[in-house]
Amino acid sequence: MGGYFSDIFNGSKSLLIGMGITFREFFKPIVTVQYPYQTIKMSARFRGHIELIADEEGKPKCVSCGMCERACPSGCITLGSVSVEIEVDGKMKKKKVLSKYDLDFTKCSLCGQCVENCNFGAIEFSKEYNLASSNKEDFHFNLLKRLEERNV
């Protein structure tokens, strides 16, 4: 019988303690971010999708070696290059120039292997994260075009 009443008492006490905690929480400030209206700046190391880095002339640094393409576990990078002859030090030299850099972001798992494997520092992570679309084509990025748009 004593156990019966002490159970009721202890139980009620624990309930009141819980209510006290939520009561205190009620008066604490709000901690959430009003997402579409407020956004957070991503940290410096945030891994978004990749972007090409431009050199001083605004051309991509990429030499189209294909390391990123091979390193990618998901096969979402497609490189294309054309050979052009350019004059270097007065000599005509054949050089591969990047003609196409497509990222299929639908497959990308943001692992960062491409950036890590790039020996020329030619790609970086963007800080974009509100990428949402109902159209699959919106995630096939033409990085060369994006680079040009950024340069403008």
Partner: protein, 328 residues
């Protein structure tokens, strides 16, 4: 008879409006309150403080297609939400908001509220059965057994108050407590020293009767998906929702009238409808506060609480009060 019928019709119309408004804005208050407890803002986009959220939600519900699951008992399925809503609204008819604001005061008002409240269980049962969904059926059986077993201690506790006052007229009960908070039934008196206990009993029972957390076994969303209204969408769901909140208002009103002196001012001055509203909304805030604090009980824990704790305690209280009334 005569004039009261007209009165009642007008009152029902007003009650529907009041219930709908209450349901809408209690949802808003609940969402805001829960959000504050959880340290987020809650609905705040539509209108100032999100005040336009409830009507917009209502419009959304009303414009949705009514879906009836295949194999469901169509008639029961359609009737159940109405049945859940109607008694709650009818109960408003006899609740005295103040000395003058009452649609139709009855000398058995308390009994009437209990009578109508008992219909709610049947609505849940029909809803669950009509949906032809196993989750719904299980939930409705749970909700009904819960309602039935909590009706008993609730009635017994109410009878204790009735014995002290000597009337089932809600107005008379309120008037008996007039003149300052020390006259309220919540405080122990010569005849019933256990009154605070019966207040707590009554409060717990009204939580359980309105299917509120931590007693929301009928719509235990993590076990039974959404309980008896799993299959309801659009206004069917809306009616259940309104019925639930109307029941909360009635539960709070009844608690206020029986224990907190109704429209009486705590200091015996300026009694009026504002005191009544203040009291019921404070009680409702406590309902909300409790809901967002505790986890849900189990069905057997719930029934044990009723049969092993609440009913013996309320019976003991009843006997004690009866004895003391006889002695003094």
């Amino acid at each position: 008879m005569s004039l009261t019928v007209l009165n009642v019709i007008v009152a029902v119309v007003i009650a529907i409006g009041f219930a709908a408004l209450n349901a809408a804005y209690l949802v808003w208050a609940e969402r805001r309150g829960a959000a504050r407890i959880q340290r987020r803002p809650g609905p705040n986009i539509n209108g100032p403080f999100g005040l336009l959220q409830p009507p917009l939600d209502g419009i959304k519900l009303m414009t949705k297609q009514i879906m009836i699951p295949g194999g469901a008992d169509k008639i029961l399925f359609m009737v159940a939400p109405v049945l859940a809503m109607a008694p709650a609204i009818l109960s408003f008819v006899t609740i005295p908001f103040s000395e003058t604001i009452v649609a139709h005061n009855m000398d058995i008002g308390l009994l009437m509220i209990f009578a109508f409240a008992s219909m709610g269980a049947l609505a849940v049962l029909f809803a669950g059965w009509g949906s032809r969904n196993k989750y719904s059926v299980m939930a409705s059986v749970r909700a009904v057994s819960q309602n039935v077993s909590y009706e008993i201690p609730m009635l017994i506790t109410a009878i204790t108050v009735v014995m002290i006052t000597g009337s089932m007229d809600l107005k008379v009960i309120t008037n008996a407590q007039a003149g300052g908070f020390w006259h309220w039934n919540i405080f122990p008196s010569l005849h019933s020293p256990l009154m605070p206990l019966s207040f707590i009993l009554f409060f717990i029972c009204s939580l359980a009767e309105t299917n509120r957390a931590p007693f929301d076994l009928g719509e235990a969303e993590s076990e039974l998906v959404a309980g008896f209204h799993t299959e309801y969408g659009s206004m069917g769901f809306g009616l259940f929702f309104m019925g639930e909140y109307a029941n909360i208002v009635i539960g709070a009103s009844l608690t206020t009238i029986l224990f907190l002196g109704g429209w009486d001012c705590p200091f015996g001055l300026f009694p009026g409808v504002w005191w009544f509203l203040l009291k019921i909304y404070l009680l409702i805030a406590t309902f909300i506060w409790i809901r967002w604090t505790f986890p849900r009980t189990t069905i057997y824990g719930l029934l044990n609480l009723s049969w092993k704790i609440l009913i013996p305690l309320s019976l003991f209280n009843l006997l004690l009060t009866a004895g003391l009334l006889k002695v003094f």
